[in-house]
Symmetry: D3
Subunit: 241 residues, 6 copies
């Protein structure tokens, strides 16, 4: 998997919204890249979460295979994922959309943060969620869930393509998260999507300014009349965007 991200790409993805990225993906025929029903634990964090996916897969926990002692094994996939997820990457946990037990807790999330990981995403829930919400670290889940992961989730492997919130996540795909949620950008499209999203963002900033100033959206959004296009060109010249 790609564990490093071109700094320029990262920079561009830090400044665009997940909604804009979804539209750029939609234009290329990708309609199912937004991870459904997630919430950020700490929506007030400045800046987007941006990083390539590092995946951890779980299956339902069979009772005899999941006593509390399994964590004595240093090779347990959850613990390995936490220690081996590359700095700058996003740990994506496929929890089969089941938030009845936790995907991980505050100690593991803290370790990810300290190791320089970019964020953590599960389509289940985190335990110790109040503590996680206080960390300066990007984390996304469905809802808080106090029971230990042993109750329902058995981590089985690392680095495979997985499902997360009804989205396919291939290792190395670029995840971007803001206060709205998380989108998955296929690795091979990331440059093109980022470039388009930067352009769209400039235009939408112009439009927002105009609309706040009282202008109608008709002809402006999208810019079907000539005046709108001229005004936008002038705005870009003026603002240097």
């Amino acid at each position: 998997m790609t564990d490093t991200l071109d700094p320029d790409l990262r920079q561009r993805l830090l400044g665009v919204s997940v909604a804009t990225l979804c539209t750029a993906l939609f234009k290329r025929g990708l309609r199912q890249q937004f991870i459904q029903a997630l919430r950020p634990l700490n929506p007030g964090l400045a800046g987007n979460m941006v990083g390539p996916a590092y995946t951890l897969r779980t299956i339902p926990a069979r009772e005899d295979l999941n006593p509390i002692s399994v964590f004595n094994d240093r090779a347990h996939p959850q613990r390995r994922a936490v220690e081996e997820c590359p700095p700058g990457a996003v740990l994506v946990i496929d929890s089969r959309k089941d938030a009845r037990a936790a995907s991980a807790g505050a100690i593991l999330v803290t370790r990810l943060m300290v190791r320089g990981v970019a964020g953590v995403v599960t389509d289940g829930g985190f335990r110790d969620s109040p503590e996680i919400a206080r960390l300066p670290f990007h984390s996304y889940h469905q809802r808080p869930s106090a029971p230990t992961n042993l109750t329902l989730h058995q981590p089985v492997d690392i680095g495979l393509a997985v499902a997360c919130g009804d989205v396919a996540v291939w290792p190395g795909d670029i995840l971007v998260g803001d206060a709205e949620g998380v989108v998955v950008i296929p690795a091979a499209m990331a440059d093109e999507i980022a470039a388009e999203a930067v352009e769209m963002t400039a235009f939408e900033d112009f439009v927002s300014e105009q609309v706040l100033g009282g202008r109608s959206i008709l002809g402006l959004y999208p810019p079907t009349d000539e005046q709108s296009r001229q005004d936008y060109a002038a705005w870009r010249a003026r603002t240097g965007r």
Copy 2:
């Protein structure tokens, strides 16, 4: 549809809670007027959302009918709804309870606000929800949803009776929203419901005061004993309500 609202009616509805209105409707046999599972994007806004319903209906988006270019059409129902919803009205979007793609985004919601619309309600989700949450404007949805509406929702008509969160919404029905949610009051009943709710609110304010002061609810709420009724009469005299 009714696009103006009697100022006195509006005033009374600004000062009562959605919960109280639901009880007044219940007494008249209407049990299903609370739009289920919505959240305000900006729960801290002062005052209720109050206004007659202006409706936009959607159906599932068929892929060939929903390329990004459809918005070039000024007659597209979503764009028309945003430009034509009367000031003071509430735009109600029937999104079939499907929040997997957006019902609208921040630019359209800003335009509604600038045009003087009273609020916007969908039983789906909004994109650009963090931006919408910062607008001084009443908006309600199920959850944030970044994908463009073209992904799943095709707006088809304006001004028809629709479903929203399991409630029937007829154009001109009065919507009232507070930090708890949104209730739909049939237009013909609005005066009567508002009058009763104002009375109930005075009584419940009295009761709250008494209960905070240590009084039992038995005999007081409802006021089945004579003492409660006398105390309430005295309270009304004293407070001028």
Copy 3:
């Protein structure tokens, strides 16, 4: 039912997290004690909710049995529960996971608070939720729900074993709630669980400190290497825990 709680037990349960308690229960084979999908209305309250369960059971409301006048009856189980729930106990309402109508509203919750009850929990929703959220009182529900309980819920009895959010709640079981949610501890196990949770909390505080300082979780969490155990012993000696 047990309406008093040993002060020492209460003290210990005030200082541990619901997540830690779930793990202690898991070690004893109890996997389903976390009430699913609840949220605190006032997550910022200091300290845990702790108290024995006092239960109220509901069934679906049949229309002819639930006119608004039923509350004239002082023996109505909901009203009785509010007046009779012992100070220090937690009122647990089995609402059959149905939040389409309210389980109770602000006046009743205020009365519970004034009476010294420790908290209120429903697997449905509360009405007047913005008011309840402002009370210095522990309350948990699924989501706000403005319609009166008469719409869908008929309280039928008090003091029986009930279901709440897929958990069995026996009268006298100890409920503990924090910002993450609520766990149900069988009465007979409460001492043992509390003792273990206090120990686990000390250890997890030590681990958190170490992990924030840059230490790997391998060998430390769980403490499989000798160094970790020695460091923890030293930390306990130093911190007096």
Copy 4:
């Protein structure tokens, strides 16, 4: 509870459909008496299931209280319910709409049949469902479910008002089941509802005959034109109904 049923009432309820009974209840303001999402295991059985409700309530099974040995206790509520449900009554099991584990199996259902019970209804699922489907006995559930009830359901009491498939069931209410499903008729209304349903059935049989013969429903169903009313009178005279 009422464990006997007037033979004439039973006779009338044997010959009308659940759909017709629902309409008669609707006319009296009762809208939620059809148990949702049930299927008969043996839809080919001749005649309706008719009998007063005898109720068994369950809560979630706590693991330590539900080892396989609990059935050694003759007083276990599930076993008692099977031995004590009166002949002619219907055993109604409140399984909290959870079909992930069984409510009962073929041996218990066979015992109910042999004892002369009128039928068994759960809003969960039965195990040994292929065997149950071969018995000449009315049984209704949501779907087959092989795991023993100990897995998820703890029976706690008998003879209380319960919820079943979103319907309130009071002991002694009359349950009627046909190939479509099961309706709950409040005991005090049963005579009146049965009488009306018999009338409605005669009329609908007349209408069906007419419609099959090519007549329009307009004016006929409901019989708003004079000709329809005359034809029906003639049909009643002719058929003796």
Copy 5:
């Protein structure tokens, strides 16, 4: 709307499966044309249901607008739809996926059959389902539902684009139903889709024969090796397809 169907088109659609039609639509980018979660009431009927859509839309039933007397109005949209749906067309009822109350019952369905309508589809449920299942008529629903439609569904208009089981249905779209379910073919594509489906069916019949005879699917399905293509050409020559 198109109320007649080219006989040749109908003929071709009678002989292909819904699954094959879905694949032909998928190849043209249409992924959401299969109505989700429906069942035929009478799966043993010979031949497909084929016909253009005639649509009836419902919203939630407000109690005061839906007394039993509304059917006295000959212009009630449900009754009008039943009398006016063209012979050969399919009546499609948008019931908002809500099967808790009926969309229609046996008398209305019988009238549709007698009038020569091709079939009836709802994403809710039918009442009198055992009677409907005995009619030689194509009908599809989610599950049986005895309560009268007045309980939850208010029909509001006829002939508009609607949603049915998460599919957009435009009046005149061609519906095809077999024992598996129902697919919606956009009117303008019907010829092309039918032609391709006939071709695909011939090929799949050939493949089935080969596979039953022991041949591997590799190289055969799809026919990537030359031998498969030659064998198929020979089979077509031999069978005249």
Copy 6:
């Protein structure tokens, strides 16, 4: 994975029910081995499905990776699974409980049958389900689903531990299916579970006979009184079981 099964083990598992196997697993602490919400397509088939699991895993289908042409690749995991699943094994498809598009269709299922595979199980749906239902082959799914798997499911790998209907399935685990559903027996426990299930089946056959003959379940089921144990011993002697 284990692709052969001891003939004696298979024989014993052919003669016991899934319900009985679930109870034997429950006694060993395994509570989640019954695949939830599946139905056999052909419930009338004689004998159980028995065989070791051979697993195929899917993730959501990304549109650009799933054109119809992917099946030209002989190494496509779905096609490989169909050609390589060992005779006597059960192909288990992890479809993430999503039945909105197919997991496979009749041609592939026919190929599995011809190759001597024991059965096929998905927690999604099959297309061509009417054809599959006519094959003398064990197949289980959630519900019929006509859209091609390319719509929503991308098969990604073979032979890994997967989730199926909320059950962990490890390659080589023994699957047993009857008309009620499918249970997953951990490979290492299969002998012990089969032995116990054979014993339990004998006893339950005895009990059924007694109960049909009018005997009470008290003391008999479980056999807590001495008479029951003696009668059973006599029955075993007499019947040779």
